[in-house]
């Protein structure tokens, strides 16, 4: 079940063969990611010495992704669904080069702009404008490019005078608006959005959806993590479903959403669909 993403030009029998390099936006091969966390909330010399005295093991391992493989052809808008803790954010961070995979291999063709949950890349004590500039520079833009875009970003986020106030004074909706505005203005080849739209209001969601449609014409690929299954169906042309780190299903958004919904209805952790 490797490369069966909707790509009309491809004959069904070509499915098993790997795509030629130039058609692939992202290739994920047998990727596993294991977090190694310490028991205590903050690791210190003190606890290390105490633990050493007791002969305890220092770390606990959490397998966030287990042997996940898939390929994303150019032009794909991939929806990623799954319960909390399924490993969706971990997958996005790994694709973004932030977390190294524990095993396996990832190939990314293009420059990535990742938008992670609720714009957590921000420094809360700095102003919106300062964070925009820092984010752009960290992403590898030049100072001139950043200055040119700062205005568009402020305009798109509709934050007005709040741009000059520290981020800690923002509501979560305002943060996610700013984060979305930053990500889409980085000229990404590959755009990744992790639950970032959930906090915006209806008006901004509509605007964001329009912007994403516009970007799809220029970007090579897009990844959308969302609990809003309807928007996955609407905005994506392929989807995957992760459960406890494993890739359960991949295919068209309709198939995947149907499978996931069915699983939720009959599955052990039955929670109300209204929460989605």
């Amino acid at each position: 079940m490797s490369s069966l993403f909707a790509s009309e030009s491809r004959a069904p029998d070509a499915v098993a063969a790997p795509l030629p390099v130039d058609d692939v936006a992202v290739r994920v091969q047998n990727v596993s990611v294991t977090y190694r966390t310490t028991f205590e909330r903050t690791p210190t010399f003190k606890t290390a010495v105490v633990r050493l005295g007791r002969g305890e093991r220092a770390v606990r391992e959490v397998q966030a992704l287990k042997n996940v493989s898939f390929e994303v052809p150019v032009g794909t808008s991939l929806g990623i669904v799954g319960a909390n803790g399924a490993g969706k954010s971990t997958l996005i961070r790994t694709l973004g080069g932030i977390l190294p995979p524990t095993s396996g291999r990832i190939e990314v063709h293009g420059r990535i702009s990742a938008l992670l949950a609720l714009g957590v890349g921000f420094n809360p004590n700095l102003s919106g404008t300062e964070n925009v500039v820092l984010g752009g520079l960290a992403n590898g833009l030049t100072r001139r490019q950043v200055d040119e875009r700062a205005h568009d970003i402020a305009e798109f986020a509709e934050l007005g005078d709040f741009m000059d106030l520290p981020i800690r004074t923002y509501s979560s909706g305002m943060r996610s608006r700013l984060a979305f505005a930053v990500s889409v203005h980085m000229d990404p080849d590959i755009l990744m959005i992790d639950e970032a739209l959930s906090a915006g209001d209806a008006k901004f969601k509509k605007k964001a959806a329009e912007k994403m449609h516009e970007l799809m014409t220029t970007a090579r690929a897009m990844f959308l993590v969302s609990h809003a299954l309807a928007s996955v169906k609407e905005m994506c042309n392929a989807a995957i479903w992760l459960h406890k780190g494993e890739l359960m299903l991949q295919g068209s958004p309709e198939e995947v959403v149907a499978g996931y919904t069915k699983f939720l209805e009959v599955g052990e952790d039955a929670f109300s669909l209204e929460d989605l």
Binding site: P18, Q29, G104, R105, H109, I112, V120, G121, N123, A138
Partner: protein, 301 residues
């Protein structure tokens, strides 16, 4: 699964992709992420990218100085007042313990030494906090992490400039002679910056694994100050201790700096070589340690 039976063509394609990626680094068209053994990222692309993104470090340092009001008039006064008061305290203390015939030069030496030591300890302390304090950036963006401690060193350096100006006022007030050899102190200032960069990277890494590193730092720094030629002149060291003090990197780096700046004395060649040696050693060890660990930071924060 494509990898289960990877075809020869696939291998060739992969190899081509990896080659391209390793040639062009972060900004390349193709990036390949693979598990790392305990090891270093490819050095040339790493440093190329570090250099390319240096405006980020500069802007981060600028923004942090703005938010700490460092650039306001009173902020700058505070930057000077703080080490100056400390110098005054030590001066009184040392003068009670052992009155000197010529207090002027000694006071100048003391202030120059404390200002410089403040720069190094400032770089070390803010550097130690830089990675853990920048958790959100590290967890959500991919960039060479060394930019974080480098930004801290830049901040510390800019905080060192107002005190340096004040030093020259003190130098004049104490009626100390001016000589062209004072200019050579720039060499030791360079050593200080390079040394501080290495130490900042080292402590930033330690802080990730042991979050109480910064609580031990003040004690460590206090002892280091006493072992450095700040509260005493280099030639005052008892003969018994002299061979050991040379193992203190600041013995040559700070000693050379204050000798040149305060008295215009050109240190012997050994001191010049030692200062550069320590600076290079600190930066190589500190950077390599940091870089070998930095890909783990995102999961550790």
């Amino acid at each position: 699964m494509p990898s289960a039976g990877m075809s020869a063509a696939d291998h060739a394609a992969n190899k081509a992709a990896v080659d391209r990626a390793s040639k062009s680094g972060y900004l390349s068209d193709v990036q390949v992420y693979e598990p790392h053994r305990v090891g270093l990222p490819p050095l040339v692309p790493y440093f190329r990218e570090l250099w390319h993104r240096r405006p980020f470090a500069a802007e981060l340092s600028r923004a942090e100085m703005r938010s700490a009001n460092t650039r306001t008039f009173f902020g700058q006064i505070w930057l000077v007042l703080n080490p100056l008061l400390l110098a005054a305290v030590y001066f009184v203390l040392l003068f009670i313990l052992a009155p000197r015939d010529e207090p002027g030069p000694f006071f100048a030496h003391l202030t120059a030494g404390i200002f410089a030591f403040y720069f190094i300890s400032g770089a070390l302390t803010t550097g130690a906090r830089s990675v853990v304090g920048g958790g959100a950036l590290i967890g959500n963006m991919a960039f060479p992490r060394l930019l974080m401690p480098m930004s801290a060193v830049r901040t510390a350096f800019f905080r060192f400039l107002p005190p340096l100006v004040v030093y020259f006022v003190i130098h004049a007030a104490m009626g100390l002679p001016w000589s062209w050899t004072m200019v050579l102190a720039v060499y030791f200032m360079g050593c200080m910056v390079v040394f501080a960069a290495g130490m900042a990277a080292m402590f930033a890494t330690l802080q990730v694994y042991f979050r109480d590193t910064t609580s031990f730092l003040p004690y460590f720094l206090r002892i280091w100050l006493y072992l450095s030629p700040v509260l005493w002149f280099i030639e005052e060291v008892p003969a018994r201790l002299a061979p050991f003090l040379k193992f203190n990197p600041l013995y040559s780096i700070l000693g050379g700096f204050t000798d040149l700046l305060v008295r215009g004395d050109v240190p012997p060649p050994g001191i010049w070589v030692m200062a550069a040696g320590w600076a290079v050693a600190a930066v190589v060890v500190g950077f390599l340690y940091f870089m070998s660990r930095e890909r783990e930071f995102a999961v550790r924060l």
